[in-house]
Subunit: 269 residues, 2 copies
């Protein structure tokens, strides 16, 4: 089964993954080259796990988890397997976020810096709590076999919206974190003198914003949704060739888990 | 013509407007009670116009501009008039943002603080430039009478996405701005000592995040879209009573300006 505007999808996906991976390189460059490196010693090198784990897990892995249903080469996999992958990636991202919080609290307690005073910490903790709630609700509604299909359908708009809202707010929180750390961490020269570290980390902020923008675009195009299960089985699960295969357009659906999915078909040309 | 889940819509709209207005009260409380007040003197009181104009214009007015087509009591107004209101509110928000930038540059130049070194300034300037581009493109595509209908339809997903992306990024930028200003502005007690000003402004950050979340929810519910013009004229422009009138459900549309709008109807009960 082929996707509409497949080349455009592929281009944007490659762009998103590239920008995400470059962000990880930038955050590693920051802590390994400009800062104290990485260690679990209660000091600044332990703090440095915080940005590394947030960019790698809470931003990059969460972003991939959001778009994983949309990869057309996964459409031959069962819906249940894709749910496990989606849930697994989100749980992995949550573990990264949780460990990154431990690193900050450890560092603050060792350096006698108060916890939870800044807007960054308030919004960030809210994100982690909402994310854990999102994962628990997702598991109960979409992986517990006893949950009625009507509830799954009714909850889907909330699940999708919450996921994208939390993801966006995580990125906003990271931008606040970058701002804090560059102000507190740069003393001579200061942030306002624009030393190379400041420029590198500002660019990191632009990169994660661009990553967020790409993931949000990919995940909100109706024509790139995973088709309904009925349609996939009708079209033949093994058909991967774009030529002469069925393409998709937007319409209401009957797939109980995926109320916005595409369900009508038209022959290409 | 009545809207689906009209009470829920009304509740969320009232919540959004209330949270937005409370944000404006909070930012005024901040600059008038805790800071130097408002003046156009090249000093800190001039800087204070920056957060006031951003929260009032670039956040609140832009948010209202985004949802203005969705107010069901405007569905009896012509599409052209609604376009003028949407464009007018966005241009007003742009003027607020532009004046707020002048206030910051004036203050920086007077106090010998460099311009454009922080991530806040980079992302913020990008928002203002993208917003001006968004307004120019919107005027050319949707208000120039010579623009072909096919182009209007094809550009709509980009126009909607860019609008919501810029709006979200403005809020992220405001959160960075709050972080900067609380770190630089609070000296004794410091930000980390959580004085009342810090708590007030952190809460302001939560309020504008909630405002953003409400506007994004309202503006992305397919069933709350302004119906297509054909449907509105068929249903009779004067029918404002919910009882026995036509209600809307999601489906593809033929309205050239509004490719995702609702166009099929069903009798209520």
């Amino acid at each position: 089964m082929a996707m509409r505007n497949y080349k455009q999808f592929l281009f944007l996906l490659v762009a998103a993954v590239s920008v995400g991976l470059i962000s990880i390189v930038f955050v590693l460059q920051w802590v390994l080259y400009f800062k104290e490196g990485l260690a679990w010693d209660g000091g600044l090198a332990e703090f440095n796990w915080h940005p590394v784990l947030i960019v790698t897990g809470f931003i990059f892995i969460q972003g991939i988890a959001i778009v994983v249903y949309r990869l057309p080469w996964t459409w031959k996999c069962s819906k249940l397997m894709m749910k496990f992958i989606h849930a697994g990636l989100n749980i992995l991202a949550f573990v990264f976020a949780a460990v990154s919080l431990v690193a900050v609290f450890d560092f603050h307690n060792g350096a006698d810096i108060p916890n939870m005073y800044s807007l960054h910490s308030w919004v960030g903790l809210a994100c982690v709590l909402l994310y854990s709630l999102q994962i628990i609700m997702g598991l109960c509604v979409y992986l517990l076999p006893i949950t009625p299909g009507a509830l799954r359908g009714a909850f889907m708009p909330i699940h999708v919206y919450s996921g994208l809202f939390i993801f966006s707010t995580v990125i906003a929180t990271a931008l606040m974190g970058i701002t804090e750390k560059l102000i507190f961490g740069l003393k001579n020269p200061k942030y306002k003198d624009s030393p190379p570290e400041a420029v590198l980390v500002n660019v990191l902020g632009l990169l994660i914003t661009a990553f967020g923008g790409l993931i949000l675009w990919i995940s909100t195009r109706p024509s790139w949704k995973r088709p309904s299960e009925q349609l996939l089985s009708r079209a033949g699960a093994g058909s991967g060739s774009p030529k002469g295969s069925v393409i998709l357009s937007v319409s209401p659906t009957t797939d109980r888990d995926n109320p916005g999915a595409n369900s009508n078909t038209s022959k290409r040309n």
